[in-house]
Symmetry: C2
Subunit: 91 residues, 2 copies
């Protein structure tokens, strides 16, 4: 997935809000879109960035697209942070 993509994905406030919303469980693109003052097209762009970074997954459910948090990236993200501050030797 790439560290750079991960950090870049987390650098946008809209995308972080999306992640927070998904903490509560899967949501359709439309449900997520209602919470943001921008078009669905713009949101789709953010979903794609989050997917490329491995932070979310998506799955079609009829005419809806269901997005969910990929919690397994959490450990990776935590390790990256620790690396930056010297708490372990990993990369």
């Amino acid at each position: 997935m790439g560290n750079q993509e991960l950090f870049k994905a987390l650098a946008d406030p809209t995308r972080r809000d999306v992640l927070r919303m998904l903490r509560g469980g899967s949501r359709t693109a439309g449900e997520l879109a209602e919470a943001f003052p921008m078009t669905r097209a713009s949101l789709t762009h953010h979903f794609n960035v989050l997917k490329s970074a491995g932070l979310v997954r998506s799955e079609r459910r009829g005419q809806h697209q269901l997005y969910s948090l990929n919690t397994s990236v959490f450990e990776e993200a935590a390790n990256l942070l620790m690396d930056l501050f010297g708490r372990n030797g990993k990369d």
Copy 2:
């Protein structure tokens, strides 16, 4: 200092490399600059971004400027990450 500034600061690979270099202790602007294939002016820009985010501090030492890691932000950064993945209720 602002979460947005923190995430933005971490989103650039040069700035993350600077942080890694500072894990080993304080370094002057010139010492840091030698490790990067860009001008000192460009590095100064990155130092300023890191300072605004509270990730580093600087201090004049004669004609040198000494940069050092501000490890106290580590906890804050870790909390922000946890928030995004639902491990605690903060923020």
